[in-house]
Symmetry: C2
Subunit: 453 residues, 2 copies
Amino acid sequence: MRLSEDYKILLEEKDIPTSWYNIQADLPNPLSPPLNPATKKPAGPEDLAPLFPMDLIIQEVSTDRWIEIPEKVRELYRLWRPSPMYRAYNLEKELDTPAKIYYKYEGTSPAGSHKLNTSLPQAYYNKISGTKRLTTETGAGQWGTALSIACSFFDLECEVYMVRVSYDQKPYRRIFMETYGANVIPSPSSQTKSGREILEKDPSSPGTLGIAISEAVEIAASRSDTHYSLGSVLNHVMLHQTVIGLEAKKQMEKADAFPDVVIGCCGGGSNFSGIAFPFFTDILNGKKIELRAIEPTACPTLTRGKFAYDFGDTAKLTPMLKMYTLGHDFVPPGIHAGGLRYHGESPLLSQLYHDGYITARAYNQRDVFSSAVLFARTEAILPAPESAHAIHGAVEEALACKESGESKTILFNLSGHGHFDLSAYDNYLSGQLKDAPLSDELLEKSWSTLPEL
Amino acid sequence: MRLSEDYKILLEEKDIPTSWYNIQADLPNPLSPPLNPATKKPAGPEDLAPLFPMDLIIQEVSTDRWIEIPEKVRELYRLWRPSPMYRAYNLEKELDTPAKIYYKYEGTSPAGSHKLNTSLPQAYYNKISGTKRLTTETGAGQWGTALSIACSFFDLECEVYMVRVSYDQKPYRRIFMETYGANVIPSPSSQTKSGREILEKDPSSPGTLGIAISEAVEIAASRSDTHYSLGSVLNHVMLHQTVIGLEAKKQMEKADAFPDVVIGCCGGGSNFSGIAFPFFTDILNGKKIELRAIEPTACPTLTRGKFAYDFGDTAKLTPMLKMYTLGHDFVPPGIHAGGLRYHGESPLLSQLYHDGYITARAYNQRDVFSSAVLFARTEAILPAPESAHAIHGAVEEALACKESGESKTILFNLSGHGHFDLSAYDNYLSGQLKDAPLSDELLEKSWSTLPEL
């Protein structure tokens, strides 16, 4: 129970980073360029301009190591940043491990997750470029919430295409977004060609994230005052999230510690990259650190995906990206970590994983929830199911240390709270939660849809 | 949009108070004693001993001005304390008011509200006195959540009697408590005499807070290893909550400001007392500060209640307290601010209100939600419906300043977030929210149940 000096490691406001760290400056092998989905030629700024403001397009391709955070964005970061870091003393004691476990907590943001780190700059750059409206998609709702809040700050209209099954089953997330003034539309909808085509075939389609992306992209591309906003995968999103790791490095220093393993859960890659990328410079400087991404066995993009060009959406409207992918038609089983149910992966993270600088592990959701409940009861915070994957990764590592007698220092990112995920906890506590294994056959079928180049 | 130096006012961990402020040392008129419900004679420690450990009984009657916070409790306060204070620049700008609005935010606690400030010491004192199990009641669920977390920290069993209508309608709150290991029982239940009597008359009784208290008290009184825990009303609860105001005073000082008005929402009185009581010494020292409690028109304990001895529960098992009350049989209309739906009031707060040191105002819930949405869109945080009463009080005061041209400094307590109250926001946003006015007849009928002495 006794809490030591490094139990909670806080920074001051002056410690909020003034620049984001752009890992593109330090990549051992450069990224393959995005391709125009029609011509399959490298996509230039003109291909991206219907969707994004020029500032973000420049960030997407920049190789400058440091990109200054605009003063207005930095001021809004002050709403909740610097975020706290904790030493998980109670969890360590419960596990009886010689490992030291630290975690960075991003759930104190008004959106409840790390997603506000990028929705704020995205709304800002759109605002100053004259955009009136942003469209986006959301599955479980974390990203839609974060963009709704950012748009309310910058007086932008916000149109969120929400996967219909979530729209129907998770009304709280919808209402949360509406409270901030967003227009939330169940997807597939009759407002887009992509949506209408799906509805004609299946009027009661439950929707997928891939369809919702198609709808949001289609609307943005067709209206001159409207842009599109994405909460993960793209390079500029990874860039914005590096505030997490930059703060974490200062906090580890303050605690007079340095991680042997840095762990994050991984869907499109934004929260893992956020905490892990700033430690990449230490790896280049010869330090031995493992950067470990944790994904669900139900959507094992890194551990069982292919490194190939693929579309980001079902209707093949987005540029093609070279990334680890399970195939753009892949529909993962309905696990509770909705934020990790994406077929693709950040190209930056994919390249580094391909080159051996990042490791990955996949876990079953019942094991993940077991660690989530243990964490809540020892460390008090109720984690989101996505973030609980990182917790489970840390627990597994701490138990391995117990086995080997090693006293490793583990750092993980607790990307958000689970206040909107309690039905998942109910499922687990009542013994009804099932694991969702994937067959090789399903994966092979999905890979067969990968586009020819 | 520009955020100034006093936008977010943070303290360091060393600024967490080392003692609670006990306003009983400074009361101009002493409290009337609690009475034994059977004998109607002043209740002594022996009357309270079946329910509470001796440390809390001593705090209940102590007139020491400062009561030291145990080291273990202070260490656990570090989970989220000191809590932040904000200057509501965006809200001020939106209201176009010359007033300065500051708010203290208690929603960053793992329980999501100020309730953890008292559940932790209550669990601690019970643990060191040998208690094995705590019982309590909960309506909307804020208090049950806070006690569940505290019990999980101190390895105490936790038994929560949850008003059946909330148990059925708000499963997320129930699951939240169960995740921390609590046993949540819908009330009325067949486990107690009080519950069985109600169920015999009405097998489908939706329950009330008064019935749930009766059940929790009955179980605690009948088992030697079990105590009872209350989240508001009692003197020791007000005492523990003074950490809020003690920190707020340091923060105002740091911002080089001092409040003209201190505002809190008021149900049983714990969050209002928490922020307001520490400023009472300034009033005694001649400073002009208004301490203003905000309550719902649907449950107007201070503004329309009687100052009289009454029971805390329906079955008349609790000691009788001299307090503002609407009558222990009063069932308020089903407004969304469940935490403000209690017929009684803290005796300390009641005495000070009676003596003219505290003011009170009552507002309708539609106006309250209008301010809640305005606050979310300008200050980003989604407030609990209870806390939104304080926001509305501050907004009304700021608009009065706009009218008069005064530049008052307003401080209010934002006691918790509204992540579990989104159906209420949906109701409001869809135009279906109704106000719930009270007739004089209903109040007079309720007063007629006040006990004769």
